[in-house]
Every structure is written in C-alpha cells, then in structure tokens.
Amino acid sequence: MNSDKKSHGKDDIGCLGAIEAFYAYLDGELSEPQAIEDFEHHMSHCRSCFSRAEVERLLNRRMRETGTAKAPDELKDRVRRLLDEF
C-alpha cells in the first residue's frame, strides 16, 4: 500500500481502489464478481498491497484468538438467576 496511488496498467484499480475493497474482501463481504476480479488483479501486481493483505490476515487471526473472552462463573450464575426470575 503506498501513498503515491500506484496503478499497474490502465485497468488496474490502483492502491486507493484496493483500499476501498480491502477489508470487505478479507472479511468475505465482497460479493460483486467484477469487484473481486479487480481486487485480485491488483493484488497479483502490487507487492505492497499483497504484503499488507498478509499482515491483515495475521492480525485478523490474532484478534480472533486474543480478543475473545470467557464469561466469568459469577456472571453466568447471575444471568441464570435472572433467567429463573423471568
């Protein structure tokens, strides 16, 4: 990813175009076939965007691993008591 808006060929969406679709693609939320094709075309030509995508995938994995939390037993008991009252 670069600030000079690199483009690789006249049909390439460029780094800023890639940013537009970046997280939607990585999160599996990009559904338009043309948008997916354009994004993957840019990724196959732009080393910095490809590298950034790799880093983002790692970060996604680490966030999933470290961000989740287990509800404390006290909270589970508290909620169970609440549910019993309903």
């Binding site: 939320e29 970060l59 509800a71 909270l75």
Partner: protein, 206 residues
Amino acid sequence: MLAAAIVMTDHEDPKTFFSRGIEENMDALYGTALRLARSGADAEDLVAEAVSRAWSAIETLQDRQRFRPWLFRILHNCFISNYRREVVRPTEEALGADEDEELAALLNEQPDEFLVWWANPEREFFNDMLGSAITAAIDDLPDAFRATIVLVNVEGLTYDEAAEALGVPSGTIRSRMKRGRTLLQKALWRQARDAGITARTDTQRQ
C-alpha cells in the same frame, strides 16, 4: 452454528429459546461488553442489563434466525445509554465527513518507514505481539470503530449482522472497517516502534 440450531427449534417456547440463546452467546456477549466498557465489572453489569432488557423486548424479535444481531443491538444500546452517551454522538457526526479523503490523508500521514515496513512485513511481529498489546490497541479505538471491529473481527458477525446490531447501514460498517483498521494499524505500528521491533527489522535488512 446458532442460526442453524434456531431453524431446527422454531417451535420452541420463547423462554426456552431465549435461555438457550443467551447461554450460547454468553462468552460473546461478555467479550463484546468487555471491549466496549473496558472493565470487567462494568462488562458484567452491561451483560446482565442487556439480558433483562432483551427478555422484556422479546416480542420485538420477529425472526429467530436474527437473534444474535438483535441481542447485540440491545447490548450496544445499553452501552450507549449507560456508559458512553456523550462520546458516541460526536463520533457518529464525524463519520459524515468525506471518508475516502480522510482515509487517503491518514495513509499519507504514515511515515515512510511504516510504508517500507508494510512492504516487507516482519511476519513474526504479530505472532510475537502479546495478546494484551492487541487488546490494548483495540481498546484505544474510538467507540464506533471499536464496536464494529469487535463484532466483526473478534465475534465473527457478518457486516449485515453488525449493521443490525449497531443500528447503522451496511455501508457504514464498511467505512468503519476501513478507518478503524487503519487506526488500529497505526496504533500497532507505534507499539512496534516503541518496542524497537521495527528498528530491529531495519537493522537486519541492511
């Protein structure tokens, strides 16, 4: 997953359905509340209040397959009304600005060495980075971005579900992901720089 289980139990009585849904989402509720409120005690209060409010509003759940986003929306509303009312509103207003220009400006602000680092990622960095450092970086994000990133990247909600949970259009979730993740990268970069990780990488590269 839960959605599939609910399809199989459409005829379950409301109380049984609700109790099971709460139990299956307990860790996700607490994890989200913890990242929103940033305090274990506050998170527990938030979850307890959300469960009470959700049961009171069970008749507003029209589609049982949407239980999860419906539940998270109630949790988020509890958070806004109890803890962060004064902060969330200005953040929402700021989102009305031209986001692409802001994002481009944000990228341009990043120092050259950051771009070099992106182009040559030190892959061990995130593996080595302590979980507490990542959660600290998430906790530092403004409310709107933090809530979005936690729901999507930590709890695994789809953009549509997150939009429903936060009461915003799907396009807003996309925008928040872009800006929120960019802010997160900057925070992690600063941590890496302060810890000397990127400096070490530069030295190795020479």
